[in-house]
């Protein structure tokens, strides 16, 4: 029974990550279509960048603590990428150059989104699998 709950927890954390990344993408899209100015856009994005990184780090930690090695390994590249951005101080959006970097920032976040959704589906699969198994018992 506990297994289901851990998968459920993973699932919700991943949903939170998806929300954070989608929010950033929305800000960038709004900026591109001139709905908000670069100052607001950059400050909104920068506001959620660290929470996103921390959420993911926590997720990795829980994977590790609950002994889900494979999931941990799957999530590791993303963590590494975040840490690298952070140590190089490139994690925040630069308001002065935001238009020049728009394409790259969008691409980067789209990849992240795809990655998270991939994890999400795996989590979903295992959650359902576990639920069915529990049922059988």
């Amino acid at each position: 029974m506990g297994e289901i709950f851990t998968w459920l927890l993973f699932f919700f954390i991943l949903i939170a990550l998806v929300v954070l990344v989608v929010y950033q993408l929305m800000c960038l899209a709004d900026l591109e279509f001139d709905y908000i100015n670069p100052y607001d856009s950059a400050s909104r994005i920068n506001f959620v960048v660290l929470p996103e990184f921390i959420t993911h780090a926590v997720l990795c930690l829980i994977y590790l603590l609950t002994g889900h090695w494979v999931m941990f390994l799957l999530a590791l590249p993303y963590l590494y990428y975040n840490v690298r951005l952070y140590t190089r101080k490139q994690h925040l959006v630069d308001v002065t150059e935001i238009f020049n970097q728009l394409n790259w920032e969008k691409k980067q976040r789209l990849f992240k989104l795809g990655y998270i959704i991939f994890l999400l589906f795996i989590s979903l699969f295992w959650m359902i699998y576990n639920a069915l198994e529990d049922d059988e018992m």
Binding site: D34, P38, Y39, K89, V95, T96, I98, N100
Partner: protein, 959 residues
Amino acid sequence: MGTENPNRANNLQGPSATPFAAPRANMPISSSHPMVGSQTSAFRPTSVPAMPNASPFSSPGPTAGSGTPGFRPMQPGRATPSYGPPTTGPPQRVPAPQFSSTSQPTPSQTSHVGQPILPPSMRPPPPSYVPSVPMGSPPQSLYNAPSSNNPPRSFVDSPYSASGPNIQPPPSSTRPTYPGYPGMQSNQVNPPPPPPPVYNQGGYAPSQPPMPAPFSSHQGGYGQVPPVAPSSGMYGGGSAPPTGVMSGLAEDFCSLSLGSAPGSFDGGLDAKALPRPLDGDVEPSSFAGMYPMNCDSRYLRLTTSAIPNSQSLVSRWQLPLGAVVCPLAETPEGEEVPVVNFATMGIVRCRRCRTYVNPYVTFTDGGRKWRCNICALLNDVQNDYFAHLDATGKRVDLDQHPELTKGSVEFVAPAEYMVRPPMPPLYFFMIDVSISAVKSGMLEVMAQTIKSCLDNLPGSPRTQIGFITFDSTIHFYNMKSSLTQPQMMVVSDLDDVFVPLPDDLLVNLSESRPVVEAFLDSLPSMFQDNVNVESAFGPALKAAFMVMSQLGGKLLIFQSTLPSLGVGRLKLRGDDLRVYGTDKEHTLRIPEDPFYKQMAADFTKFQVAVNIYAFSDKYTDIASLGTLAKYTGGQVYHYPSFHSTIHKDRLRHELARDLTRETAWEAVMRIRCGKGVRFTSYHGNFMLRSTDLIALPAVDCDKAYAMQFALEETLLTTQIVYFQVALLYTASCGERRIRVHTAAASVVTDLGEMYRQADTGAVVSLLSRLAIEKSLSYKLEDARNAVQLKIVKALKEYRKLYSVQHRVGGRMIYPESLKYLPLYGLSICKSTALRGGYADAQLDERCAAGFTMMALPVKKMLKLLYPSLLRVDEYLVKAPTVDDEFDRVCRRLPLAAESLDSRGIYILDDGFRIVVWFGRMLSPDLARNLVEEDSATDFARNQTRRTTSGRVLSTLKFS
């Protein structure tokens, strides 16, 4: 029906009818075929079979033919596999004996001797490239015959890219130096394999000893150049009249022989023949000529006034495709931009694309509608704006509407173009008063200059002014008009800066004039004995921001030490030699602390433009400080190791110009263009407020902005592309205005036409900006290579256009419009911002030059890249009385070592500083008259003075 129809019709025909139809249609045929014929007949009957071989290549079109096979020939190894072992025996002599006797009497020997001379002087060939040359060869052996008169690709690509494009002109039909080559000739007697019309080889191949290494064989190739260059000899022997061919050459492109004349021993490159821009920048006439209603090219310059119609054409035009805009360029007397006031009517604009009404819109439907020239939407003409059309479709009141006849016009903007009441001109000074500022004399010069400019500040009587000084504390000055002396307030809490008396720090200049003058008078003496070495730059910047954020305006920062206290403190960096050449090199050129970028963004948001004046003799991290200017539309002035006796005049001049030139406040700029074309990137000192809106807190005549555009569709269907620059700004008089520049450019389908209408100035301006931007994220080396590669590729592409039709081997060919491009390309690479490595320019100077070049208008940029050099001693000795004689006596000299005579005095003027060069053998009298006694003994070294050219001359004359 439309007002402008006649003109439009002309315009449409203009480009297609005149410039290219004629030469392109006739020339290739008339010139190429006779040529082949002439060669064959002249050289040897055996090469007749080569004719069919040659024609397939020319028939698919000039470029196709030259593109694929044209560049293959130069491979040393290629002959060997197919034709057997290289033999340097008699067989080669057999086929073409008469040729070797006529056109290459000596070449084999001379070229040999020439080899060692030529290469070292012209190019340091990068070793890495060399091996690549023979690599790709084997499969091309098929082609080598017909393509023999084409330039080998390897030349263009490899050895030259290192040394710059203007020496790229390769050898041609005569490259027999390869060991493998002779074998081909011997085979040629046997029938089939593409019988090469390689006429000359037989002539001298045998006498060439086989070259051991591919590299030296290249050099051999260079040495051989000459025999082809004097092509007249060959033509003379042939049946085709050489004159027709030559005139064709002259029409289409310029060429430059880079090989030595046959029989001569010197390097072959005639330095005098190199094109040099001694007349300064020449604007292309086609821009205005074809579309007389275009705005003047001082406002808007396109890199080529012929817009390519397809993506494939864009990709073949290797240079950047874009525009350089200088919206407020200085106008000569009598050509001021007319001001149009629509008053209550509101400004006439297109409903959909918001284009402003301009000379290219057409009125239809009896004058009731007008068609937007950019988006083709039919707009209603407002009742107030209505006028009948005459028989030719023109509005009857055309002469009363400058906006319908002139490419540049200013509209008075009504209230809907304002988000707040127009701001007054505002100057705020933030002055470093630490010990180095006082010692260098900067404080005194600056205070005097500001005082002398108070009368001329634009916008009187609304102008506002304020001052902050700082060392380890921040000093505010209350200058309320009721006071007689300014009141100083010191804030020493750097962590939590606050502004005392927020209302009285910025005062109206005309009201508080006595107080301001009293302050400026006492400023130098006030800090005379200051021994404070610290600089609380960051906190002072924040304080200035708080004071200015209400109104915006211009912030002038005078900084002479490295910021050392509070937020935004900076470290010494840049003296680490090891960083150069590594991937981290560029980090030295970008701001270290995000504080500066953030502040710059905030400044722009509140309409504050920052100008930095930096004076230190030590490292001040211009890379970080300059960021403030970069994103606020400002400028960086750098005076390395400022000393008031030397640099006084320059500071005075530049500060006075900064304060008194006409300035546009709280501006935004947008450039629109027709359907199918889109602006993709913008380069310059500004911040983008949305994808295509440039925010400029303050803009003046010395700022230009570059942008690149791309085609959105694969094929443009329109005949003309229109560009419209609109600058919305507050004039110093307090009026909100929109300055609109409109230009049209024709769409072409032909690459040659694009090159013909290219504008070197704009190309160079854009290229240098791209290179500087590149140097912010890559190594300097990469930035320089990128420039060279672009130019080389462009010239190579151009060569492909013509090398098939004309025998241009051994000559570098280039369009007349781009004749200075290689020279300027090299100048870019040698400019302060990009040259060399660690030791060649101080990091601060490099960064400052980079910021400056990002803002310069085309003309000033070209002058900076290729300064004018004048010899003045004759002029000084004669002491002429008439002023205008100066231009006659002193002509611009080419910037070459030969121009300098050790008996003369020279002035080098790059628009920012003047270098006076005293020759070593200068007559002592003259020198003593010019320089003080003690330094007269020492005059052989360079003397540097910085001021405007006129002033230096006068000081020289009278001292």
